[in-house]
Symmetry: D3
Subunit: 179 residues, 6 copies
Amino acid sequence: MAKRPFGTVAPPGTSRNWGYALRRVVCPGSFDPVTNGHLDIIGRTSRLYDEVVVAVLINVEKKSLFTVDERIETLEAVTREYGNVRVEKFYGLLVDFCKQQGIPTIVKGLRAVSDFDYELQMAQLNYRMSGVETLFMSTNPEYSFLSSSRLKEIARYGGDVSGLVPDLVHRMLVERLRG
Amino acid sequence: MAKRPFGTVAPPGTSRNWGYALRRVVCPGSFDPVTNGHLDIIGRTSRLYDEVVVAVLINVEKKSLFTVDERIETLEAVTREYGNVRVEKFYGLLVDFCKQQGIPTIVKGLRAVSDFDYELQMAQLNYRMSGVETLFMSTNPEYSFLSSSRLKEIARYGGDVSGLVPDLVHRMLVERLRG
Amino acid sequence: MAKRPFGTVAPPGTSRNWGYALRRVVCPGSFDPVTNGHLDIIGRTSRLYDEVVVAVLINVEKKSLFTVDERIETLEAVTREYGNVRVEKFYGLLVDFCKQQGIPTIVKGLRAVSDFDYELQMAQLNYRMSGVETLFMSTNPEYSFLSSSRLKEIARYGGDVSGLVPDLVHRMLVERLRG
Amino acid sequence: MAKRPFGTVAPPGTSRNWGYALRRVVCPGSFDPVTNGHLDIIGRTSRLYDEVVVAVLINVEKKSLFTVDERIETLEAVTREYGNVRVEKFYGLLVDFCKQQGIPTIVKGLRAVSDFDYELQMAQLNYRMSGVETLFMSTNPEYSFLSSSRLKEIARYGGDVSGLVPDLVHRMLVERLRG
Amino acid sequence: MAKRPFGTVAPPGTSRNWGYALRRVVCPGSFDPVTNGHLDIIGRTSRLYDEVVVAVLINVEKKSLFTVDERIETLEAVTREYGNVRVEKFYGLLVDFCKQQGIPTIVKGLRAVSDFDYELQMAQLNYRMSGVETLFMSTNPEYSFLSSSRLKEIARYGGDVSGLVPDLVHRMLVERLRG
Amino acid sequence: MAKRPFGTVAPPGTSRNWGYALRRVVCPGSFDPVTNGHLDIIGRTSRLYDEVVVAVLINVEKKSLFTVDERIETLEAVTREYGNVRVEKFYGLLVDFCKQQGIPTIVKGLRAVSDFDYELQMAQLNYRMSGVETLFMSTNPEYSFLSSSRLKEIARYGGDVSGLVPDLVHRMLVERLRG
């Protein structure tokens, strides 16, 4: 078994003697819209890796509030300060996207035990299909009750979601849902 | 907030322009003894990081089957082939060990939902106390039923544990428990 | 922070010296139809509070078997004997209804661990948005397997649901589903 | 209370003195399509009982990939080697099917804790309605991440599902989804 | 792979043509003391199998309230009416006991999700070590909160446990704990 | 069935016509020592009830860091500002204490799913034994990873627990563990 995973790209000009490699990961999701919970995971991940690729799923079967392009623009705006985050879209299987990008690792947040079974099963299936690993990070407890769908439901009925999303997203939500 | 975590050490001779850093993690445990489940996590982790430090907890209050030194020797023997695994012992808080080593990340295996709550709470507490992150990796389903304590119980009553531990550990268990 | 929650209404004629207050709670749900499990929670709650307001959610997006008015009438009939239960309908966010009613507390039944994560997350979100608290009561184990949707599915195929719903609801179900 | 359940049929020609009875069970599901996880449960069950009746649910409200007849044919083909498996279809309540067949026991696989609550509640409800018992068998950990719906999603996007389904099903999936 | 498990014993005088076999299972536990929850599982199991062997674990390391012989006598007394229950003691690994008895199946009750992980892991480990299968049965919801240790704690402080244990056990508890 | 629970005491001088009653609850625990998580539950409960009785369990079998009297003094000091909290100790069964106090309701915090099963089972058992109800309140997510035992372990090794306990407790911990 090779010691280096398929997605580890040796940085140009770095002697292989050192063995240091560009460590990149994928943070996938729908991000419709991005919440402070997502941002917490992306930000903490960006401090542990050389590059974080945020992968926005194109799901034509599911009705979304924001278009894929709107979501990408928003993600780019709110992650700019991290300095090593790139936003991409993908269609189909996440592991195919990872392979195309040459990235061996997915990082996901776990909020609660109800996420756990599904996520572990997906991780095991993805590993079996492709060798891509999934690493889980505990969500900041302050956002453990937060999801994009719950957020939209609350905003739709006029509930106050400031503090749960970036300011930019707050303005977009108010405009889209009540405009 | 700094973009680089405290434990990221720039490799000597590497231009900071590239920004590539030595990525190291800690895999903690008691390893009394190391099982194939542990080895699966350590081996998969070793392919995702530049260096894996296996940290053996010294717990004077808990009776162990093997001494800390025996466990370290065994771990060194069975992880040698990975090429980038170092085995250390620690006493006290795991996050203090991580800080001393300058390592910002812990990697742990999750077997089942019963691990989940405890591990997530420890991860949140460790992050709050020290900023050290914990990443969870799904255990290989083939070893999801495996723990060191269950293993010792079975071996003690003469049950067959070959295939659940490395051969070296199998021989040590047979010798220690029935010798 | 005030010692009295916003929804605590001092009963007219009661000296504030005593500090005793009318303690009211909301028991929310769809109640399509009300089951013996719901009734167990409402009845036990009615013995712990001065008034219980049963709040029937108007959900125009979800197809229901009984109209909101039918559900209210049924609930009124089967809770009459408790003496301190009032039935209302609401639209939108439950916490907005609670505020309009001046009631600081929601009481909900928990049947099983699968309810737990969702309900705890909703409770935390509701508290954060509005300060309204949610208290959970363990469902009577005898009805822990019971839900309105499962009940309707069984009744639809001619299964026997007597003993799982009040007699009035049993008659309504038979009439509606097989009439 | 009678010592023998309603579904225990004394085999013709067997003296009642021995009290041995034909032990039959039902393994229910949608099997759209049958996976190696299903087959693992059916095969292990067939070794514990005299006859296993695989019951394919006819669900007109849910869109399926394969017709009920295709699913029955496939199941018959892949379970033929067990020698004591019969495949039937049913409509309505599973417990009514069990009663019609004179079979007192359902056997189901449990993959993960997320299955647990739903399945236990259904088991308790079925027992209360009809006296039919449900016995749960732990899924082979190797297939614990597997479900028909996840499988179809992967196959739809060209993911490799060989090794997760019988060869016959693999060919059918490839033909149906990409043909 | 053989179609018949190792523990299936053909009853004497029964033609193999019929293929009917004596179906036996093991219900294991400490039974210190037996509760109505245990009895519910044993009684329901006795109606699904030709013979139920209740296996009392001899655990010299754990302090018990009743001796193994007292527990066996009590179990024999309260299960006598089922007509097909035999009580045995065992030491060491449960699967070794099953093999000695030639019984291929263990039946256990599942009360709640907290039992689930441990029990599923033990079931998978036992199957891997020996081929012995474990089937789980949902505990009667009325006894889902009941365990021997909780019962003893309550009885010790004078709490009323009648209705939670057989009358015989109730008398024994009162005598032992307050005598 | 009486409409008023046994523990509802009509306040002197209040006309029964109003039916308003003194609503009291018990918040039980070991509180060795009290954490900010406990205090969050007690404080929020004090706003929903007329009086909160904090009940400190005397457990002679478990080694504690602080004496029962120290714990009571500390609790009294840190809950004084709520104005309606009384601290008592109890020995034996919690429901017996509730009955002696004439209080029909226990309020407990739920942190995570691992608490859930045990707590629900205790609640059902307590209700069955005595009619005393248990209401659960979601722990503040900020303290969801916190327990007294974990806290003591961290403090023992010199970890920083400020912000997790009241200042008074912080000083006591430092003095006791390192003094």
